[in-house]
């Protein structure tokens, strides 16, 4: 179409007219075809409006101040952790990693820290700051719209009510995925650059799975903060509640478990059965915390040497070959934890969904 159009300038006017004729005919054909091709117009329209909402939400997030500030902090932390990891690998990496660990040098970029610098590793940073990203993106998702009076206006448009809450979730999750993956791949790139040692395909796969799990974990905190943003009318209340829960799980929960552990402790001389039961109890309590689930999954994913997440008896170790687990086996090991994380996320989302669908839309009530 483009080529004849260009040459048409030199040709006669009549020929140009014919071109227009053709164009007209094509347009007619198009309009005739369209209604048939649309199939199910109402649903289609609503799904397109869903993506319009997602698009707008992402734009809002990206242009907001808090997102910029948070990104600044995270990028700084990320660079710090890379520097620390690289210097640790350079200084003592070769001597420290004698046997099995050496084969997964690249994964060390994510877990190793230099003892001299006292900067946490990338994975630690992610498990610390990840929840903060989730909370920041979600804590005022619904109540700010309600307080600004945009919720009533929005819901009087022909959109499904659940599309609104889904769009809020999806847009924030897209942002989280982009942030986590770009940071993770950035670490990978910088690692390549500085240590000049390429990752094996398995290492690459492990890193991608690790990043994916991080997205799920941050998604949990996002869902929780969205739930609070529906429940509480004030953005400050919902932000504080989310942060309180985050602090509880990262700091106090461990203390409480320790207290329970010491209170119910059995003596060293007790039967192995009783000791095992005690250990399992503490472990189960620990695993109620999503933070614990996440740290178990990432340590398994990033250190293939981890063979079990609970106590192992000597019986079980008999005949085991001291080698790192394969990717499939590592995945199998963390499958329950991963399922737990996903379930917690789904429960939070389900609760917020139900709560939102039942809530009355009143302007700034």
């Amino acid at each position: 179409m483009m080529q004849p159009n260009k040459t048409a300038a030199s040709r006669s006017f009549k020929e140009q007219l014919r071109l227009d004729e053709w164009r007209e005919r094509a347009r007619k054909l198009w309009t005739e075809l369209r209604p048939g091709g649309e199939g199910n117009p109402p649903r289609e329209r609503s799904s397109s409006s869903f993506w319009v909402m997602v698009q707008k939400e992402i734009g809002d997030h990206l242009s907001s101040w808090r997102f910029g500030i948070l990104m600044g902090i995270i990028v700084l932390a990320c660079i710090g952790s890379i520097y620390s990891a690289v210097s640790a690998i350079r200084s003592g990496g070769s001597s420290a990693s004698g046997g099995a660990g050496d084969t997964f040098l690249f994964l060390k970029m994510y877990t190793l820290t230099s003892s001299a610098l006292a900067v946490p590793s990338f994975s630690t940073f992610l498990s610390w700051l990840g929840p903060l990203i989730g909370i920041t993106l979600g804590f005022d998702a619904v109540n700010s719209e309600r307080n600004k009076g945009t919720l009533g206006r929005l819901l009087s448009q022909p959109i499904y009510r659940d599309d609104f809450i889904k769009a809020k979730f999806v847009s924030a999750l897209v942002i989280i995925a982009v942030v986590v993956f770009s940071l993770g791949l950035l670490v990978m790139g910088l690692g390549l650059f500085t240590i000049g040692y390429p990752p094996t395909p398995e290492e690459f796969a492990r890193i991608l799975i690790f990043l994916l799990i991080a997205v799920v974990y941050i998604g949990f905190w996002l869902c929780l903060s969205i739930l609070f943003s529906i429940r509480f009318r004030q953005a400050a209340t919902s932000a504080l509640s989310s942060i309180a829960i985050w602090l509880f799980f990262t700091i106090f929960y461990g203390m409480i478990i320790n207290m329970i552990d010491s209170a119910t402790a059995v003596s060293q001389m007790a039967a192995p059965d009783a000791q095992l039961r005690q250990m399992n109890l503490v472990l189960t309590l620990n695993r109620l915390s999503p933070t614990e689930l996440f740290s178990e999954t990432i340590s398994t994913m990033l250190s293939p040497g981890v063979r079990a997440l609970g106590p192992l008896t000597m019986d079980q170790l008999v005949g085991a070959i001291a080698s790192p687990l394969s990717l499939g086996q590592s995945l199998l090991l963390i499958w329950p934890q991963l399922t737990g994380l996903l379930a917690a996320t789904m429960i939070c989302f389900g609760l917020s969904y139900v709560l939102f669908m039942r809530q009355e839309v009143r302007s700034r009530a």
Partner: protein, 337 residues
Amino acid sequence: MVTETGMTPTPSAAGERPVIELVQLTKKYGEATAVDHLNLSIARGEIFGLLGPNGAGKTTTILMMLGLTEPTSGQARICGFDPTREALKVKRKVGYLPDDVGFYEDRTALDNLVYTARLNGVSEQEALQRAKALLEKTGLADNAGKKVGAFSRGMRQRLGLADVLIKNPEVIILDEPTLGIDPEGVRELLALISSLSRDEKLTVLLSSHHLHQVQQICDRVGLFVQGKLIACGDIRTLSKQLDADGNVYIEVGAKGWTEELARNISGIEGVRDIRYPQQGDDELERGVTATVVCERDLTAQIAEAVIQKDAELVYIRRKEYGLDDIYHRYFEKRGES
């Protein structure tokens, strides 16, 4: 016509189906009844004013019409659709301006409008065109690129109107559109609404507690108190209902009012009574000396009598009931019963 139950008659031709039809609509919040067996129908192209004090259930009624709240019992039909079952179809045809409309403050007016249009399934190009045309129409064209955060209350309200119109609705519902706008702004907004209704054959339902503002543009009004529609009809009909005793009230303001003059006026055939305003009545402030109760309109005769007695006639007016009076009278009546 003071109906609490039963259908409200519509002035339009009987053949066409009303655009808005509420039948025995009820909403209860626990024990409290917000809307009580409401019956109402509004014809195409009509401007209907839903009047009532705060907390009368106006907003609840509107939310039920849009399917944003489910009625406890009863039914609403908007453009032939049931809002609880086919909310999307209703929302596609109805534009709703909430009483406290909010916009995305850090977006421009144009962005906000385009977003609404896009949510209605309009293509980006078309949305931009419509938004620009509507900003022109509502007098906001110069502020199209400004962030809404910098808008004044009146500008927001006009933007809200543009936002409602961008989906090409058949019905627009405005909840307290004049709230918090200065008198000139109210006048402009109401003029805009009535011209839009006329030009585009829009059905307009607006709720308000500012009676005299709404009075100017409404074809019909409904008085809504404690979840009940206590009266419905055009303003003339409503005021006729109040004049049930058949008397005509004429307010006279005169300098040099004497007993003799009063006697003379009483002597005119058809005059029943002369009432004097009490201390503190607003009639006194308006300069009314006396209100003459007559069987028929005797304005001319009374004026003549005043002038004959060498008193200065400052003011004479046949009293007509505005919505304010209607409103008060209905409350009085309710208080008595």
